[in-house]
């Protein structure tokens, strides 16, 4: 006899609307509540569908890059990189080593800025606004670096087919090395503030557990999968843009069967990924090679022969695949993105059933959802 039969209560229905401070993006949760505990949750998305994939088909090739970096507003570099790699595979363009290294630098900067956005969301869900301000202050430094080289803080639109739009400005490398020093101190400060904090551990441990078996069945990839012990990093399996030349170690949560992939593990893994990315930044920045930055003249329209390609990139949220089909004309025939946030959205109903209503913000923010990239 469950408590409901004894007390003869029915479930309360709650629709947490598209725009709410607890939600990581515009999505609606239709929930049934038994008092404080969520019994079942259904996710409605589609509120931020911008028709990106239709927009690709009516733009010229060069304009589709500025649309590709609007795929995921938190990590603009990954959409561009996937599209550029795919078109370079179709048109058989060679990318000079310096351009590849700058792409790796920008990817890792984008990964750190996306993980910091994740830390801000978790801090807001847990309710400590000091951590929010510390993380945002450090993220400003990355956005300033983006602006220094590419000209824009968010949607950088800096990669071109065959390399990058222009050479990096001269102060870029020194400031990256400074930054990696700064992050070593800052990550220690985040650890003091959150990782060892008893209140934070109590608030996130055992909340939103995602076992590694479920991770594979749902198709969850990226940091969330690695936090559940399932190590799949595209930078290691399908190295692209010079990642095989960099030695770095993919952080995977070793759970020793205690608990698998709860919000605390996902948070800790993001911190470790920031540390690994800083290490990669330092490594690539120290021995960056000189030479051309693009194998094609700037501003010259590209002739993409008929063909197709599917490229995988490790974005900050997981495996980002880009399937490009070209019919030889000035405009792309079809560009489709396989985004990691589909699987994270599919995991929400399972994670939410059985959690308390107060833990809803913690569970949703711990997944690191990119709702804009799921709806495209």
């Amino acid at each position: 006899m469950s408590s409901r039969e004894i007390l003869k209560t029915e479930l309360a229905k709650l629709a947490l609307g598209p725009f709410d401070s607890a939600l990581p993006g515009p999505l609606r949760l239709q929930m049934e509540l038994d008092g404080e505990v969520i019994v079942s949750a259904k996710v409605e998305t589609g509120f931020i569908h911008r028709g990106l994939e239709k927009a690709f088909e009516r733009q010229r090739w060069i304009a589709s890059i500025s649309y590709a970096d609007r795929l995921d507003p938190d990590g603009p570099i990954f959409g561009e990189l996937a599209l550029c790699l795919a078109v370079e595979e179709i048109a058989q363009l060679t990318v000079p080593p310096r351009a590849e290294q700058v792409r790796v630098l920008l990817s890792e900067l984008g990964r750190i800025s996306c993980h910091m956005e994740y830390l801000v969301r978790v801090a807001r869900a847990v309710g400590s606004d000091t951590m929010i301000h510390y993380v945002l202050r450090d993220r400003e430094k990355i956005l300033d670096l983006f602006e220094l080289t590419t000209g824009a803080r968010y949607s950088i639109n800096f990669l071109r087919f065959g390399g990058i739009q222009a050479d990096i400005t001269e102060g870029f490398i020194e400031r990256i090395l400074e930054l990696s020093e700064l992050f070593r101190i800052r990550v220690k400060e985040y650890n003091d503030l959150f990782t060892y904090n008893h209140a934070f551990i109590q608030r996130t441990q055992g909340v939103g557990t995602l076992s590694s078996k479920r991770v594979r069945e749902l198709g969850v990839t990226g940091p969330n999968a690695r936090a559940a012990g399932f190590s799949a990093d595209i930078r290691k399996i399908h190295p692209y843009s010079g990642y095989d030349k960099i030695d770095f170690e993919v952080p995977v949560a070793d759970l020793r069967g205690l608990r698998s992939g709860d919000a605390n593990d996902r948070f800790l893994l993001r911190l470790r990924e920031i540390a690994v990315s800083t290490e990669i930044l330092r490594q690539v920045a120290e021995n960056i090679s000189d030479g051309a930055f693009c194998s094609r003249k700037q501003g010259q329209e590209i002739k993409v022969p008929a063909g197709e390609a599917y490229v995988r990139v490790e974005s900050a949220r997981g495996l980002l695949g880009c399937h490009v089909a070209a019919d030889g004309g000035p405009m792309p025939a079809r560009i489709q993105f396989r985004t990691p946030s589909h699987a994270h959205l599919a995991a929400i109903p399972e994670l939410l059933s059985g959690t308390r209503l107060e833990d809803l913000p913690v569970v949703l923010s711990s997944l690191g959802l990119g709702v804009a990239e799921a709806d495209r």
Binding site: L16, S21, A22, G127, S128, F194, Q202, R203
Partner: protein, 358 residues
Amino acid sequence: MNAFLWVSSWLEGFGLEQVESIWILAPLGLIFIFLFIIVPSSMIVAYLDRKVTADFQARVGPNRAGPAGVFQSWADFFKLLQKDRNSEVSWSEELWLAIHTMALYSTVAVLPLGSLMLLVDTDMSVFLPFWAALVVALGTMLLGLSQKTVAGWYGGIRVATQAISGAFPALVAMICVGLRAGSFRWSGLVAIQGAAPLSWTAFSNPFQFIALIVFLVSGLVLLAIPPMDAALSSPDVSGGVAAHLSGRRLVLFKMGRFYSFYLWAVIASVLFLGGWKLPFEISENLLEQGKIQLLHFLELCCLMTKSLILILLVIWGARVNPRTRVDQITDFAWTVLSPFALFALIGASLVAGWGVLS
């Protein structure tokens, strides 16, 4: 001795002739305390909260309204007064908001503000603010329930559960102090404590120090003050009880919140940190010379500095750490605060008994 005689000393200052009847002195005294002590203290606490939090977070904080943003609280006050409520207000919500504020400001009569400025000094005067805090929790709960919104519903119930679990350890900690002082009158409690820190109850023996910490933390739980305000904070289910209040109702609610924060700091400093005791018998010879206003002022300053230090400590702990869930707060209150409170009670009674026997 008529408790409100001190008011007539202020009246002479304004040139009004000697007034004896209690019916005039009492309201005047209450209004005087409310206008010149409660409202400014709430403003100061609000301003300090924002400025110190900004300082912790590498921010500048309010600096537009007045030098270093000193009049920021006034600006907020007037801004909120202009705003009107978007949807119509049900009578039940108005009623419970009124009850919530009345319960809170009924403690003004009992507020220990100085040896002479003590309005009500009965044997039970220590417990009156305590019961008022419970009525406030009840008022907040029913205010939330009457809002008929999800945020209000959950916020209200959570404030009530939290208050119950915070009440027991706070009560036990108060008894420890009463044990040592031998009476539950404000004047009796302060008379025991000397001016020097060592002679304060908190530092007289280790059990009292534990009682101080338990009293402070359970006060935070009882009144849902920042570190324990998961029920009212924004990331909660879209805002908690205060989400749907706006305009002057929000002013009432916010002033109530800051006042309860300030009230608990004053009571804690009177019980444990020597209240308004002035060193080197200043209060005695000031009484002889009849300078009552100066005595009031000095005692008030001494009391205010101690409670402001306590408030800063609480803000420091609140803003840096994440908020805990309400069920974790209640578990914390029952499994950690209550045992420590009882342990302090046993210890304090042993010490008190030892003193009597030897």
